[in-house]
């Protein structure tokens, strides 16, 4: 145990650098995911045949295929089509698009839970559809979605580990580096596992805080692993 | 010479710091129907649960026939095989048809063959008048039918004694009759029964003995005529008065409404 602790502290700085990248991937991915997922959800519910269909296709395709394949298409595949991205950018976009598809389903659930009555009432006082969504539907849906949505950040934190497979210098990449330096892969991956668990614990705690601050008593949507 | 089937001696039960049952003693003879009445929250249901060992009593003994079932080392599952229990909320097994609900005990617990259990189950469903519903799932039955299946399920184990825990409390008023009818028939056939109920009509007509409980103690017990018309204790009189007043008021209100409409 002492040996392992020593190991842990010796490589702490390296691991911290990796941790920072992992957190960046998670944060940007999450933000992008909201930016894509929310409009996709609105489009799917209110968008009619064409726009709604496009949103459905996006959500279905990104939920129906592995995130890793999406990452490879974006990083290795897109240069084929003339679009070359840096590792970091590719990872951001892949994680954002992937997370966005999952988040869209949560948002959609919440929007539908608000019910069509609210939309009718908003239209009745002369709001346009867009205004109704912006001022009546979303403010309610966003509060309603938080308990179900709150497992997304952890989920994305874990998914972000795939970025290591295009050599983004995240936690996993640093672990590999440490492993090659120390010839002790088990200890280094174990150390990384501990870091992930600590991060998951912290994020979980933060989400609990967010949830309790914004909870609407008696209202909850279901949640599953993604 | 009557045969005592159930003997409860000085049973007490404590939840936290409230004593829900205080020193209860009670005997039930073979073929008797004993009705437990009393305000809600006085431990009647707890007593039933102690009898079939779903709850453990904190002191005192309970005998079923000649066996002390509260003794250490007694196999609870074996004891429960001989005690039928009917719950307020039916608790039919949701994934089984009426027939399978009745068969599952004999097959799984008694090790009866499927053919034999099928015959037995159909016979018990006949007893409660539901042969034509044998293939229905609980979700496809009315409340009254569910409770009758639950009675058949308990009967299929050939219990020494049947316990009924407010069997009609969860039913719509128009469905209560069919369940009480089945219970009355069982009582006439000589089944030994302990019934917790608020149905005073049933208590008066069917019970051999009525036990009035309040705040965890047996206040008074005796044949229905004595208890209903010559209660020894003020508390008994008050409870009976309240409960008949409640039902009486209800009827009067109905009449007044009818009258006011006519005006």
């Amino acid at each position: 145990m002492g040996e392992w602790l020593q190991f842990f502290f010796k490589y702490l700085p390296v691991l911290l650098e990796g941790t920072l990248i992992t957190l960046k991937l998670t944060a940007v991915g999450l933000g992008l995911g909201i930016a894509v997922g929310l409009p996709a959800a609105v489009a799917r519910v209110y968008g009619g045949k064409w726009i709604g269909g496009i949103a459905s296709a996006y959500i279905g395709l990104f939920r129906g295929t592995p995130a890793l394949v999406q990452l490879f298409i974006i990083y290795f595949g897109l240069p084929d089509a003339g679009l070359t991205l840096s590792r970091m950018t590719a990872a951001y976009i892949a994680l954002g698009l992937n997370s966005g598809a999952y988040q869209a389903e949560y948002f959609r659930g919440a929007i539908q839970a608000i019910g069509s009555g609210q939309m009718k009432a908003a239209r009745a006082i002369g709001m346009t559809r867009l205004q109704a969504v912006r001022y009546i539907i979303l403010p309610q849906a966003l509060r309603l979605v938080i308990p179900a949505w709150s497992n997304k950040p952890i989920s994305l934190l874990k998914t972000s580990a795939i970025a290591f497979l295009i050599s983004v210098p995240d936690l996993m990449t640093e672990a590999k580096f440490v492993a090659s330096k120390t010839y002790n892969p088990i200890a280094s991956y174990f150390a990384v596992a501990v870091v992930y668990l600590v991060l998951a614990f912290i994020v979980n705690w933060l989400m609990g805080l967010l949830e309790s601050k914004t909870a609407i008593p008696g209202l909850k949507l279901g949640s599953t692993r993604t | 010479m009557t045969n005592t089937i159930l003997r409860i001696q000085n049973v007490s039960k404590i939840y936290g710091d409230t004593e829900v049952l205080k020193d209860i003693s009670l005997e039930v003879n073979e073929g008797d129907t004993v009705v437990l009445i009393g305000p809600s929250g006085t431990g009647k249901s707890t007593l039933l649960r102690c009898i079939n060992l779903l709850s453990s009593s904190d002191s005192g003994q309970i005998w079923l026939d000649d066996q002390e079932i509260t003794a250490a080392g007694v196999n609870h599952d074996h004891v429960r095989q001989h005690i039928g229990m009917v719950f307020q909320d039916f608790l039919l097994f949701n994934h089984l048809t009426a027939l399978d609900n009745v068969m599952v005990g004999p097959v799984k617990v008694l090790g009866m063959s499927k053919e034999e259990a099928h015959k037995k189950a159909m016979w018990e469903l006949e007893r409660v008048g539901l042969v034509d519903r044998a293939g229905h799932y609980p979700g496809q039955l009315s409340g009254g039918q569910k409770q009758r299946v639950a009675i058949a399920r308990a009967l299929a184990m050939d219990p020494r004694i049947m316990l009924f825990d407010e069997p009609t409390s969860a039913l719509d008023p128009e469905l209560i009759g069919e369940v009480l009818e089945v219970m009355e028939k069982l009582s006439r056939e000589g089944m030994t029964m302990v019934v917790v109920t608020h149905e005073m009509g049933f208590a008066r007509e069917v019970a051999d003995r009525i036990v009035f409980m309040e705040k965890g103690v047996v206040v008074e017990e005796g044949p229905p005529e004595d208890l209903f018309y010559r209660p020894k204790f003020e508390r008994t009189r008050e409870f009976l008065w309240k409960i008949t007043e409640l039902y009486g008021k209800h009827d009067q209100d109905g009449e007044q409404d009818a009258a006011s409409v006519e005006d």
């Binding site: 129906g64 795939i162 | 074996h78 229990m85 719950f87």
Partner: protein, 213 residues
């Protein structure tokens, strides 16, 4: 190399992708059901241990466990990357399946258990005849989600060199200088597998539904 040849080359990897899934998913199922029962009925100590297992495994990226197991297994016993990968995905999935079954068992409710015990069934008989038949049905929809996740996560064994769909796509993409096409084909194959699994389980759910429940 023509499009068709690339497609066929990648498609040969489906066997391994399916094999990884067919190891991980049933393994997760058996362990998940077992652990969920331990979590609920196992008494304080075992229940707590099962809870810690669940929290840890659901807090780890699958790929981290994959590497740990890969190096432990490669270092001690001589097991192939295929098994290291399949086992770690199975372990991760068992934690999620445990939560699925725990939720299902709890929503079957204490009343059903009480009624079964009142009939004289033992605890084991009750779980076997009354609780599980209902809980397993309730678990199908979330389990379908989990099955799709395992199919998708099977792509992670790419990282330790197992020649499944993604690895073959990467290989043929690099060799033909058509990575976009190769990875798109891989995506389509995964999409098809996920679709099949979800569809099959939706049928299973319909077939096993309790009437009017």
């Amino acid at each position: 190399m023509a499009l068709w040849d690339i497609f066929v080359y990648i498609l040969t990897g489906v066997g391994i992708t399916v094999a990884v899934t067919l190891v991980a998913l049933p393994m997760g199922l058996v362990l998940g059901v077992l652990f969920s029962l331990v979590r609920i009925y196992g008494g304080k100590v075992f229940s707590c241990l099962a809870g810690v297992y669940s929290t840890v495994m659901r807090g780890l990226p699958p790929i981290v466990l994959l590497f740990i197991l890969y190096f432990i297994i490669a270092g001690s016993i001589n097991l192939s990357p295929f098994w290291a990968g399949s086992l770690s995905l199975g372990i991760i999935s068992s934690a999620y399946q445990m939560e699925i079954f725990r939720g299902a068992v709890l929503s079957v409710g204490g009343g059903q258990e009480m009624a079964a015990r009142a009939l004289g069934m033992s605890r084991i008989q009750t779980i076997q005849n009354i609780i599980l038949p209902q809980a397993l049905r309730l678990a199908i929809p979330p389990w379908s989600n989990e099955a799709a996740t395992v199919v998708k996560d099977s792509s992670l064994v790419y990282a330790i060199g197992v020649a499944e769909v993604l690895r073959r796509a990467q290989f043929v993409g690099a060799r033909t200088f058509k990575p976009l096409m190769a990875f798109t084909i891989a995506a389509m194959i995964y999409f098809g597998l996920v679709f099949l699994v979800s569809h099959a389980l939706a049928i299973l759910e319909r077939k096993t539904r309790i009437p009017a429940f």
